[in-house]
Symmetry: C2
C-alpha cells in the first residue's frame, strides 16, 4: 500500500530564495508566468511573475536553444539559469537562462497590457476582464491588503476571546425586514438571502459571549453609486457584558490598530507598491450625530435638510471637518436618531429619540455601523410594536431574549469599503475581486 | 473633543483569572449567566457560565441580601465575592458571594435543561431551539472545535504562500452546470447561488498562484440524508505549478496534520470535554478507485453494482477496510472515472476514462473532493464538447485559459462533515450551528 507523505521539497525555488547571498553564481530553477518580454536583439529580458512578484531573466541569443526561442508572454514556464547580481534589476538579481520548459501555452496574446505600471483601461474594461486585469501586480496587491485586513480582524478578535461562527445565508426571514431582500424559492418555500448575520450573531452571544463572522451579505438595494455593492463581505462581531456602546467603539479602535500593525508588519511590500499611507488609528474623535451635523453646517454653510439621517455629502464633510480640525482620519458618529435605526437598537435612556449606536467614518465614508442592542424581552416587544413590525417569523430570535440574554453590542464593517479607503480609491468596485452591482452579474 | 481610546481594563475578571495562586482569599467580580442553582437550604450553589466554562459560586443564606435572594437561572449577572479554594469545585475554586447585580432577567424559565451533561432532547428538539441548546457546554464545545479547524486551515495555507479570496455567491452561471442550483431573480435577470467557488478559485490561480477561501456554498440537492446539508461551509484551496495531483494530496495531508496540532494545542479543553480522540494523520493510505472497489468487494463479499461511482455503503466499507488492515482513519481514493467527474477534471493520460482526481474519506465518509484541473484551453473545449456542455456563459472562465494558465489543482473540504467526523457524530446537522436541509429553513 502507498501512503501519502507530507510536502516534498519543491525542486524549484521561490523568487525570494534566489536573493540569498549564497545563491550568486549558482544554478537555480524557478516557475512563473511570462509577464513580458523585451527583445534587445542579442539579448532578451524575460520578466517572470509569481505570487512573490517579478523576476528578471535574461536570454543570451547566441546560447539560446529552441525552447528558449519559443518563450512568449502568457506562458507558464519552468526555467533554469545562473543567478547573477545585477544592480539595475529588481531586487538586484537576474537569472541568466540556460534551459526552459513550457508548462502551458496561451491560445491568444493577452487582451490587456498587464505589465504596464498602471493598467491602461477603464474600470469597466478592468472589471469585464477581471481575472486577467488582476494579473497586473498593482491590481493584485490591493487584494493582498484586503487579505491583511481580514487576517488582522480574525487574529485580534480570537486573541480577545471571540469565537468564529458560520451562520446561514438562506433564511425564512431577515433581520432588517422587508425591503432590499433577494428572494428565492427554497424547496417550494419562500426564502431570502441574509442582509446581515445580525440576528444570528446576537443569538450566539448567549452561547459564546463574544462572536465574530466574516462572510458575504446580500442587499438588493437599487443603488447605483460608487460606494454600494449588492453583495459584499461583512466583518461582524458581537460582544456580551458591555457597560456602554463605547465598549464596542473601543474594541473597534483597538482592532483597527491591530489591523494597521498587521499590514505594516506583513504587507509592507504591497503598501510600498501601492504607495499607501495608513490612516491614523491612534486618535479617533467621537462626536454625537446632531453635533456633527451642526458643526459641518456651520463651518461649510450647508443647511441641514434631513434631520434624521446623514446624506453622503454630509458624511464627506464630517470627514473633512475632523481632518481639518483634528487631523483625524476616522470619526465615530454616535447617537443616531431612533427613526433611522433598526428596532433592536438600544434607545438612549436620556432621550429615547436617539439610540446608543454609532457609525465609524473613514475619510468621510461610513465603513461601520454598530451599537448597543436591546437585551430585554419586553423592551424588544415594545420596540417592535412602536416600529409597526410583526414578531411573526422572528420567534427564534425573540426566544433568546425570553430565556435571558446578557447586555451586548456589536458592529459590522464593510470589508470592501475599508479596503477602498485604505487604497485611496473612490469606487468600491476597485476593492472587490468580482463585484456585483445592479448591472453586473459577471464575471 | 472626546477621543476613543483603546480597550479599558475590565473591572470584572475572567473565570480563569480567579484561578491564579494569588487570588485565593481575595475579593473579585465576575460576569456570567446563571447556568443552574442548587438550593441546599443553608447554602446555595449558583453555577455561572461564561465563554470560559463554569464557575461555582456559593451563597450563604444567613448573609444573603435581597439581591442574592433574587438570583435565578437564566439571568445575566455581575457578582462579587471572595475567591476560596475548594477541591470539590470545578478547577478547585469557588466564589463566596457578597453582592450581585442582575444585568438581565429572563421572561420565562429555560425550555431545555441545558445544565445537564447530555442535553435531554432529540436532535430535532435541539435544532428547533438551537440558540438555547447551544448554551449547553458540550454542545457549544463542538463549535469551538469547528473554529479550530477553520483557524488551522487558514493559518497553514497562509504560511504556505496562499492568498485568501472572497468570491461572489450570486452568479449568472455555475461551475458544475444545471442541476442542484438555487435560482433567484437578480434585478430582473436570472441568477444562481454558487455551488462552489470552483471557477473563481481556478481563475485566481492565474493571479496569486495559490489561493484559498472559506465560505458558504449552496446545493439544492433533494437529498434528505444524515450527511447532506443544502447550505454548508466549504474550505477550498487551489494551487498552481503542481507536478501531479499528488501534490494536492500532500498539501492536504500536511494541512490536516497542522489542524490536528492546532486542536491539540489550543482546544485541549474542548477535546477533553467531548472525549475526542483525534484521527491519525501521519499515515494516510492512497488507493485507486477501482482497486478500492475490488478490495472491499472481495473482503466483504459485496458485489460491485455501480462501476463509475462509490455508493455511501461502499465508502463506509473502504473506511472499514483501511481501518482493519492498516489502522488508518483517512484514505485517499484516487483516479475516479471521468464519467462521474466534472469537465474540468484532468484525464489520466494513461487511461482517459479515469481522472487525476481524488476523494479523501475520513471514517468512511467523503470529506474532500479534489484533483488536478485541465489548464489547456483546447483540451478544455474538447472536454466540454465530450460532456455535451455549452461554453456559452462560461466565457470569463474559459478566457483565463485562452490567455494562459499554469498547471494547477485543488480541493474543497466540507467543514461540517470534517467536524462531524472528528466529533464522532453520525448526523452532519450536529456539526452545523443552524443547519439548512430540505425541511429546515429555521432557526
Amino acid at each position: 500500500m502507498e501512503f501519502i507523505a507530507g510536502l516534498e521539497k519543491k525542486r524549484t525555488m521561490r523568487f525570494s530564495e534566489l536573493m540569498r547571498e549564497e545563491m550568486a553564481g549558482r544554478e537555480a530553477s524557478v516557475e512563473g508566468m511570462i509577464h513580458s518580454i523585451r527583445d534587445m536583439g542579442e539579448i532578451s529580458f524575460v520578466i517572470l511573475r509569481s505570487r512573490e512578484g517579478l523576476l528578471q531573466t535574461v536570454i543570451n541569443g547566441r546560447m539560446a536553444g529552441k525552447e528558449l526561442e519559443e518563450l512568449c508572454t502568457g506562458q507558464a514556464v519552468r526555467v533554469m539559469g545562473v543567478v547573477t547580481r545585477e544592480e539595475r534589476a529588481p531586487h538586484g538579481i537576474e537569472l541568466h537562462l540556460k534551459a526552459a520548459r513550457i508548462l502551458s501555452r496561451p491560445e491568444e496574446p493577452l487582451p490587456l497590457a498587464i505589465d504596464k505600471w498602471a493598467l491602461p483601461t477603464s474600470l469597466e474594461g478592468n472589471l469585464n476582464r477581471r481575472a486577467i486585469a488582476l494579473r497586473n501586480v498593482r491590481e493584485r496587491a490591493k487584494f493582498r491588503i484586503q487579505e491583511g485586513i481580514c487576517r488582522g480582524f480574525r487574529e485580534f478578535l480570537t486573541a480577545q476571546g471571540f469565537t468564529e461562527i458560520h451562520t446561514p445565508k438562506i433564511g425564512a426571514r431577515s433581520a432588517e425586514g422587508g425591503a432590499n431582500l433577494f428572494r428565492l424559492q427554497y424547496f417550494h418555500k419562500p426564502a431570502v438571502l441574509a442582509q446581515s448575520p445580525q440576528f444570528y450573531k446576537q443569538m450566539m452571544v448567549g452561547v459564546f459571549d463574544r462572536v465574530f463572522e466574516t462572510g458575504p451579505v446580500f442587499r438588493a438595494e437599487k443603488h447605483n453609486t460608487k460606494r454600494h455593492l449588492n453583495e459584499y463581505t461583512s466583518l461582524d462581531f458581537e460582544m456580551g457584558y458591555i457597560d456602554s456602546f463605547l465598549d464596542v467603539c473601543r474594541m473597534e479602535a483597538e482592532l483597527l490598530r491591530h489591523v494597521m500593525r498587521t499590514l505594516e508588519a506583513e504587507y509592507s511590500e504591497e503598501l510600498a507598491l501601492l504607495k499607501i499611507t495608513l490612516p491614523d488609528t491612534e486618535k479617533i474623535p467621537c462626536v454625537r450625530f446632531d453635533e456633527a451635523k451642526r458643526l459641518v453646517s456651520e463651518k461649510y454653510g450647508r443647511p441641514i435638510r434631513t434631520p434624521y439621517d446623514l446624506e453622503p455629502e454630509e458624511e464627506a464633510l464630517i470627514g473633512r471637518y475632523f481632518k481639518e480640525e483634528y487631523d483625524a482620519d476616522f470619526v465615530f458618529v454616535t447617537h443616531y436618531p431612533s427613526k433611522k435605526r433598526p428596532f433592536y437598537a438600544m434607545a438612549d435612556p436620556k432621550d429615547p429619540s436617539y439610540t446608543l449606536s454609532f457609525d465609524l467614518l473613514l475619510g468621510g465614508l461610513e465603513i461601520t455601523t454598530g451599537g448597543q442592542r436591546i437585551h430585554d424581552y419586553q423592551m424588544l416587544l415594545r420596540k417592535l410594536e412602536e416600529k409597526g413590525l410583526e414578531p411573526e417569523g422572528m420567534e427564534d430570535y425573540l426566544d433568546c431574549f425570553k430565556y435571558g440574554m446578557p447586555p451586548h453590542g456589536g458592529l459590522g464593517i464593510g470589508l470592501e469599503r475599508l479596503t477602498m479607503k485604505l487604497l485611496g480609491q473612490d469606487n468600491v468596485r476597485e476593492a472587490c475581486l468580482f463585484p456585483r452591482d445592479m448591472a453586473r452579474l459577471r464575471p
